[in-house]
Amino acid sequence: MASFQHPLQCLQYAQQQSVTSAGILVASSGRSIYSYAVDNGKCLDVWPKNIQSNAEHAVDEQAPPEKKIKLSPGSDGQDEQSKGKSSSKKAPGKQSPEWTNIPILLTSFDGKHVIALTAEDKTIRVFSLSQEGQLEELSSRTMPKRPSALALTPDGQTILCGDKFGDAYSLPLFPGEYVRRVEDSRATKIAATNRTVHSQRNLHSLEQQRIHAEKTAEKAAKGEDSVDNTARDFEHQLILGHVSLLTDLISVSLPTGGSNRSYILTADRDEHIRVSRGVPQSHVIEKYCLGHTAFINKLCVPSWAPQYLISGGGDNFLLLWKWSEGQPLQKVSLEGVTQTPEVNVRGIWAVSAEQSTGAPAQAILVGLEGSSTLLSYTMEGDALKQQESIQLSGNILDVTGVDSHGAIIVSVDNVREPGSSEIWKSSPSTPQILLESFQATTKEGSLKWNPTTDDVFVTAINAAGTSPIPTDADDKQKKTLDGALYSMSVLRKRQHED
């Protein structure tokens, strides 16, 4: 039986100037990044390079890292799992990748760099992307908390990273020489005194702290000081923070009175959208956009209409904002789109696809988690106008516009039944559909997306596939795979007693 292929989790289109080719599509699937030539769909490069050999030889060479599921095929997968647990510790230098998926992918504005987040190891990796589509890892930086959103500043030189802890950091695209700032000596000083704590229990623990501090000081004097492994050895600066899980972060440049002002928009699990100034003034909060009643998952400011913001998440509506005023303009209902009672907005994409006839088709596309219907809207005045939806063969995972094709490419889940985030198809369909492509036609003011006929690019990628999912994956492994692609429901607040 043919096995399922890992679906393409993220799509990014990169077109480098002064290059005549149609550009490169960069996509993440499973634990790998692929680059494809847009003119013929040929796979140009895969990262990490050794992944194939890993998959073949991993079986007796190395134990899978903790908490990871084994992705390599083979009948003895189960044995390998149990062996892994007993021999546990990872062999340094010979590790298989310490992540199972790449949930965030970003390309620089000039198309020459790719920024990826590997999930479990919380690492931001920067790659160079050559004209031939070769990926070369330039740097890897492990963040203190798991990043949930990445963005580039308008000048393209700084990565902004929002994390699950509510903090946002700025990191230079290329890490330079880093000199750690001298910071206050840690811990050894005890803040409490017998003037500030009084109960017997507190006084007792104060005494314990004092003894502990003395011991640590002794050790330090002997040079046995434990290495502070929480410190980061690269430049990163805290630029703002929410006391909530940050779900999205975008960087916007807005023309204002002759000059461009840069802003950072951040969204959190507690229904807030914050509008801050760009770095280095990100501590100045300009506005809040308040109006959601459940978590927010995605922010979208179209590059072709930067005064507008479309936001969505756990509410059964989208909100359209004039974000620089914090002013809501429109509430767009999403009721009836899915069968499930809970609506989770997975993605909001602003695309601009060239048409054979005149002006480009500018549209806002909205995908819900575990839904195979892609909603389509156009901007008319201060409002979103619904257009005919696009029906896909599987759940929508990601969307990207491919300018040179005048098309959009949608990545679909080939593994699970359309409309479900957990029910797997009984067997892989042949050929497996990983990508679908559409082109826009405008007729009498309404926008329609038609499947691209004879798209060599999409056909080639669908035929080539990605990496196989083991056919004997058990329920637990399936669940982990589901969790990597469909993780939004955990953001929803559940009522409980105080």
């Binding site: 803040a191 703002l240 923070g241 308040l290 109006g291 409980h496």
Partner: protein, 329 residues
Amino acid sequence: MTTPPPKRQKREAYRRNLQNQYEAHQSPNVEVTQVKMPQKKFFRQRAHANPFSDHNLDYPLTPAHMDWSSHFPAFLDPDTSKTTLAGTRKLLKDVEVADIGCGFGGLLVGLAPILPETLMVGMEIRISVLDYVTSRIHALRMQQQKLKSGATTENTVQDSNNTEQKPLEDEVGSTTAVVPGNYENITGIRANTMKFLPNFFAQHQLSKIFVCFPDPHFKARKHKQRIISESLNAEYAYVLRPGGLMYTITDVEEYYHWVLRHFEYQSEEEKARGGVKDLWERLSDEELAADPCVQVMSNETEESKKVTRNNGNKYVAVFRRKADPEWST
């Protein structure tokens, strides 16, 4: 079915009584003979609450949805056609002072007569403690009404005699004189300000924020729960108008330095890098001495009295919110 433990039964009975007393007072036909101040012992709650968890909190969608009408009945706009976005009646003025982590409300009660025309709100995450604040303010308002209406002061005098003879720590705060504002200008709400401050207050709405004896969170790994941090200071700057004041007081010396470190640049190098500290400047000792609010903060909150009793130190720092800097391009 198990019955709740006796302690909780007592608590609940006590609070019901208080509520009845208040409701009885609301109806004009019933003459209440004596207004009792609530006793703290029925409202105690564990000192710490986790600000990161999802409590069942009530908070408005936006500041324009906030219903203040039940909190400040004396300041209701007589024009009933004016309503908030939530459809409730509007006030004649906006709330201007917030006491973040108001505890048992000592600061509010102390400030009320000093700023009689200013609406002030205490915000507290612990539900029982907030219930106490609400009962306390209700009781104070009732006492004031009785005093104003010239009712026999017998009971009240007796009451104050009682407190003199037996200075119960738990039942304090009865007033014997009519004070400016009659405590109509203060209220308490339950809120997690670390998360939801911008839901309650619009940009630049506040003129003063108080943070009095905040939970020190001694352990280093708990420091992220502290109510003063660079990220939160940006939010305080958002709700505070330029020129507005941020008052802090603590009895923990290390926390005092923490506060200074998070509002003031510690070196020229740091200043050159810039950051949220651009928005704050510290008030001089002369300015502090001239500010009656500092006196109240230092001497009239429950915690400050406790610190005095234990011969602790008090560290005051007040910061003025500066205007937003010019846009950097």
